[in-house]
Symmetry: C2
Subunit: 203 residues, 2 copies
């Protein structure tokens, strides 16, 4: 079966609409999707950025919020919140997502995005993350302990290193089995088409 990896960062604005639609897009193309939470911090640091490029470049920030509103409106996602502070610290959410099994991870990840960008909740807050776990019938303390184990911390670090090795430069990114990287919410379709063997389709 065709397969692809969906690399996402919980602080990333465009990862939100991507996370909400990627499962359907993959399924309709018969592509098995692996959800890969990671952190953009090390990728950005390697480019010399110590902050989100949307904070460094105000014109890009203005464009992004307006563009993302149009995209989320079209998807019928709830009125967008702009998280404060921006970007949110996504370390805990990423560790928890990685500690979950595949089936739960996608569902939990969508819930984190909905909390962060739909409701404006602080995703660095343990209580916020715990509540999302409880809603999924999980024992929050058990999952949080697993998430913050040394093994899981090391696993997330390894994933971040792998992201850089794959050539990932931003989030979300779709990576195909043959190592092609497609960066951006607006490139999910092309990446999944490639993964499904259809290569690129243009108008």
């Amino acid at each position: 079966m065709a397969a692809a990896e969906f690399w996402y960062e919980f602080a990333s604005t465009y990862s939100y609409p991507a996370a909400m639609r990627v499962a359907d897009l993959a399924q309709s193309r018969g592509v098995a999707l692996a959800w890969q939470p990671f952190l953009l911090g090390p990728i950005f640091a390697a480019q010399g950025w110590r902050d989100s490029p949307f904070n460094i470049y105000p014109a890009k920030r203005r464009y992004m919020w307006r563009d993302r509103k149009r995209i989320c409106d079209a998807l019928g996602l709830p009125p967008l919140k702009r998280p404060v502070p921006f970007p949110q610290n996504s370390l805990l959410a990423a560790r928890v997502a990685l500690a979950l099994d595949d089936a739960t991870r996608a569902d939990f990840s969508r819930a984190v995005y909905a909390a962060e960008f739909g409701q404006g909740l602080p995703i660095a807050d343990r209580a916020v993350i715990a509540a999302l776990l409880v809603k999924r019938g999980l024992d929050a303390e058990t999952v949080l302990a697993r998430a913050e184990s040394d093994a899981n911390k090391a696993a997330l670090k390894a994933e971040c290193a792998r992201a850089a090795e794959l050539g990932i430069i931003g989030a979300p990114s779709l990576v195909t089995g043959d190592g092609e990287v497609f960066w951006g919410n607006d490139r999910l379709e092309q990446g999944l088409d490639w993964a499904a063997g259809r290569r690129l389709k243009q108008d």
Copy 2:
């Protein structure tokens, strides 16, 4: 009639595939297209960049060349050249494009991109630009003189200032009549859908 502006920079790598397909995309949606050559230099300088971001950030450069090859392959565009130096100095080409009437400007602009990225010709070279004008049945010296008149130089500067005012942060950009900006070759369809009153369509 619905209308939109296509803002492009001759040195811009993604403006190449965009320029090659935007006219058909606009026509199929009944959108009248104005071709707006401009320079990214002032926009980038305002963000603190003195060079192309693809030169400043090697990981972005690697991604871009590979991504653009996939896109151009899918469009059937000729094997891509990487211009040397990169980016090319696009001032002369932009002045000439602006000095042409609407009908000729689109055709000339596509020819500049084909010369630069399809053949690897230096577009800052007057002889290269003159040859493209002659091929279109134009008197090259007359057009070049008009392009380098004080009035036309001032007109290009004014266009660059207008690009910044519109909120343009990169090229290519599609700007609709109601002031929406869509940045990127991969957003032409959405921008033109918006201009045609269809707003955004997502899978």
